[in-house]
C-alpha cells in the first residue's frame, strides 16, 4: 500500500476531532474524502502533513512513517498539500511562486542547494504555459482572481513534484467552468505524473464528475467507503448532508 492510515486519533481539549481513522490509498490512485464541516477532514490533513502530531495511530507513506515528522520533512518525502483558503504567498508574483516550487523540487528545500540552484526562467515559463497561466506570470498573487489562485496553488504542488497530493477543497469558490477545468487538471496530473491524490471536498457535483472512490467522514470517523453511487444511496450519508429530516 502506498499510503496507510491506521487508527489515527486526535483531540483538542475535550473535542475529539479524530476518533480512530483508518484508510488506504494505492499508488497513483485518486480518492476523495467527503463529509460535513467539522467532521475532522482538516485535522486529518494536518496530521498527514506534519502540522499536527496524532495522539495515537500511525500513517505510513510507502513504508516510511510520516505521522509525527515535522512538516518540511514530510514534504520532502513527497506529500504536497493545497490549503483550503487559497494558499498563495500574497505579495509574491506568480513567477516567484513557481520558482519557489521548482526550487523546492530540485533542491529538496536544502538551503545550500538553493543558493546554487539555477532552475531558471525556461522551466518556470514552461510550467505556466502547460497550466495556461502564462498571462498571469507577472501578477502579484493577492490580486489574482480566486480561481487562478487555486490553480496556481495546485500547479505549485505539481511542480514541486509530490508523490501524494492532498487537496483541501480545491474548487471552493470556482465557477462551474473553472471546476470542470480543475477536474481535468487533477485527472491529467494523475495520469501524467502518476501522483496519488487525496481530495477533501463537499461539492458533490465535483465529486461526481471526478468519479473516484469516496471516503465519507463524520464526527471524526470514517462512516462509509465506496463509489459515488454507493455513497449517495447510503441513508446515513444523505442524513449527514441533508439532515435527519430527509433520511
Amino acid at each position: 500500500m502506498f499510503l496507510t492510515v491506521r487508527e489515527l486519533k486526535k483531540s483538542f481539549g475535550g473535542i475529539h476531532a479524530l476518533q480512530g481513522v483508518s484508510f488506504k490509498l494505492d499508488a497513483a490512485e485518486i480518492k476523495c474524502i467527503i463529509g460535513p464541516n467539522g467532521c475532522g477532514k482538516s485535522t486529518l490533513f494536518n496530521i498527514l502533513t506534519g502540522v499536527l502530531a496524532p495522539d495515537s495511530g500511525t500513517a505510513h507513506l510507502d513504508g516510511t512513517q510520516i505521522s509525527g515528522l515535522p512538516a518540511h520533512r514530510v514534504s520532502r518525502l513527497g506529500i504536497g498539500r493545497k490549503f483550503q483558503v487559497p494558499g498563495v504567498l500574497s505579495d509574491l508574483t506568480v513567477m516567484e511562486h513557481m520558482e519557489i516550487a521548482l526550487a523546492a523540487r530540485d533542491t529538496d528545500g536544502l538551503l545550500l542547494r538553493t543558493l546554487g540552484w539555477r532552475g531558471g526562467r525556461a522551466a518556470i515559463l514552461k510550467q505556466l504555459e502547460t497550466a495556461g497561466l502564462t498571462d498571469y506570470a507577472g501578477q502579484i498573487a493577492s490580486q489574482l482572481p480566486h480561481g487562478i489562485k487555486q490553480r496556481l496553488e495546485i500547479l505549485m504542488l505539481v511542480a514541486r513534484g509530490a508523490r501524494l497530493l492532498l487537496l483541501d477543497e480545491p474548487t471552493a469558490g470556482m465557477t462551474a467552468a473553472e471546476t470542470q477545468a480543475t477536474i481535468d487538471l487533477i485527472r491529467r496530473i494523475n495520469k501524467e505524473t502518476g501522483m496519488a491524490i487525496l481530495v477533501i471536498e463537499h461539492d458533490m457535483a465535483f465529486v461526481r464528475n471526478l468519479s473516484c472512490p469516496l471516503i465519507v467522514m463524520m464526527r471524526g470517523q470514517v462512516i462509509r467507503e465506496g463509489s459515488y453511487d454507493e455513497v449517495r444511496a447510503d441513508p446515513q450519508v444523505r442524513a449527514a448532508y441533508l439532515g435527519d429530516h430527509h433520511a
Binding site: 502533513t49 506534519g50 502540522v51 515535522p70 512538516a71 518540511h72 514534504s75 520532502r76 504536497g80 498539500r81 490549503f83 494558499g87 504567498l89 500574497s90 505579495d91 509574491l92 508574483t93 513567477m95 516567484e96 511562486h97 520558482e99 519557489i100 516550487a101 526550487a103 523546492a104 529538496d108 528545500g109 538551503l111 538553493t114 543558493l115 540552484w117 532552475g119 531558471g120 526562467r121 518556470i124 515559463l125 502564462t134 506570470a137 507577472g138 505549485m156 514541486r160
Partner: protein, 321 residues
C-alpha cells in the same frame, strides 16, 4: 535595465566620483556615514526580505566592532594583531552573534514578529550591559586607540581619501552581496517565508534554517560595518552595541525605505546629515523637530522616502514574459 536600477547605479557612481569634488573634511565625514549606511542596508535585508523587525542589529554591529578592535590591538590570545584579520573576524563575529540569537529564537516554539522585536530589544540591552561590565574589553569607556587599517602603498585608512574609498568599496561589495542574495532563488524563498511560514514548511523548506541564515548574513554585514566603524572612529565602547544604536539603525532604514537596500543605505546618510545640520542650526529644538518629522515620515510614507524610487524590482528571470 529599469530606470530604478540605473538610478541606483548612478548613486554608486556619484559616490565613487565624490573624491574628485570633495575636500578632505567631507570625505572624512562621508567615510564615517557610509559605515552607518552599511548597517542600515544589513537591516533592510532581513526587514524587507524576511519581515523581521530586529532591534538587535547593533548587537551584531558592536560584536564586529569589538572583535576588530581586540584583534588589531592584539588582545585576543593566540591571534596575531592584524587589522585585516580583524576585519575578517569582525564579519564572522557579527554573523556568529546573529546565528546564536536566531538559533535561540527561531527553533521550537516560534516567536511572532512583535515578540521577536521585543526580545531583541532585551537582547540588545543585555549585550550593552555585558560589554559595560567586561573590564578586559574596556568596560564603559571601551577601547581607544584602535589602529587604522594599513593599505597597500604605505598609506592607511586614517587618511580621509583612503578611508572613504575603503569604506565605499566595502559598502559596494556588501550591497552586491545582499542584492545578489535577494535576487537569487534564496531571496525568493525568504520572501515566501515572509508571506507565510506554514506554507513554505509544507513545500519542504526548513523555515527556521532559512531565517537563521538570513539573519546570520545580515549579522555578518552588520559586523563588517562595525569593524569598519572601529577603524574609522578609532574607538569602540558599549555605545556601539546597545539599544540606542539599534533603534537608530531601524530609523535610518525606515526613513529611507525598509525593504530596499539602497534606500536604507541612503536613509542612513540622509538622516545623519539632517541631524547634524539641524543640531547646528536650531539648537535644542532639533530633537523635537527630528522626532516629529520622523513620526510624519512613518505615518505618511509606509515604504520610506526612497523605497519606491529605488526599488529595483525582480531579477530579469522573474519578469513577465
Amino acid at each position: 535595465m529599469s530606470y530604478r536600477l540605473l538610478l541606483t547605479l548612478a548613486i554608486w557612481l556619484v559616490l565613487g566620483l565624490m573624491p574628485l569634488a570633495l575636500g578632505s573634511w567631507e570625505l572624512a565625514m562621508f567615510g564615517q556615514l557610509l559605515v552607518y549606511g552599511i548597517a542600515a542596508a544589513s537591516l533592510a535585508f532581513i526587514w524587507g526580505e524576511v519581515g523581521l523587525v530586529c532591534f538587535g542589529q547593533a548587537l551584531f554591529f558592536g560584536t564586529g566592532a569589538y572583535v576588530m578592535a581586540l584583534t588589531s590591538k592584539g588582545m585576543i590570545p593566540g591571534i596575531p594583531d592584524s587589522a585585516w584579520l580583524g576585519l575578517v573576524l569582525g564579519i564572522i563575529g557579527g554573523a556568529l552573534a546573529a546565528a546564536i540569537l536566531g538559533g535561540l529564537l527561531f527553533f521550537g516554539v516560534g516567536l511572532r514578529s512583535a515578540y521577536f522585536g521585543i526580545v531583541t530589544i532585551a537582547a540588545a540591552v543585555i549585550g550593552e550591559r555585558l560589554a559595560t561590565n567586561w573590564r578586559y574589553i574596556g568596560g564603559f569607556n571601551g577601547l581607544l586607540d584602535v589602529p587604522p587599517l594599513p593599505l597597500p602603498g604605505g598609506t592607511d585608512s586614517a587618511d580621509p581619501l583612503m578611508g572613504y574609498l575603503l569604506v565605499l568599496s566595502f559598502a559596494f561589495l556588501s550591497w552586491l552581496l545582499l542584492l545578489a542574495l535577494q535576487r537569487a532563488p534564496f531571496g525568493t524563498v525568504l520572501r515566501g517565508i515572509r508571506c507565510d511560514e506554514r506554507r513554505m514548511l509544507s513545500l519542504g523548506f526548513s523555515v527556521p534554517v532559512y531565517k537563521l541564515v538570513a539573519l546570520a548574513v545580515s549579522g555578518g554585514v552588520a559586523g563588517l560595518a562595525g569593524a569598519l566603524f572601529a577603524i574609522q572612529f578609532s574607538f569602540v565602547s558599549p555605545a556601539v552595541i546597545g539599544l540606542a544604536l539599534s533603534t537608530e539603525i531601524l530609523i535610518w532604514a525606515a526613513v529611507g525605505g525598509k525593504a530596499v537596500l539602497m534606500a536604507a543605505f541612503i536613509g542612513a546618510l540622509g538622516v545623519k546629515w539632517v541631524e547634524g545640520a539641524l543640531s547646528e542650526s536650531i539648537g535644542a529644538y532639533w530633537l523635537l523637530v527630528i522626532g516629529l518629522a520622523f513620526v510624519a515620515v512613518i505615518v505618511i510614507f509606509p515604504h520610506g522616502l526612497l523605497g519606491r524610487l529605488l526599488d529595483t524590482g525582480l531579477p530579469k528571470r522573474l519578469r513577465r514574459p
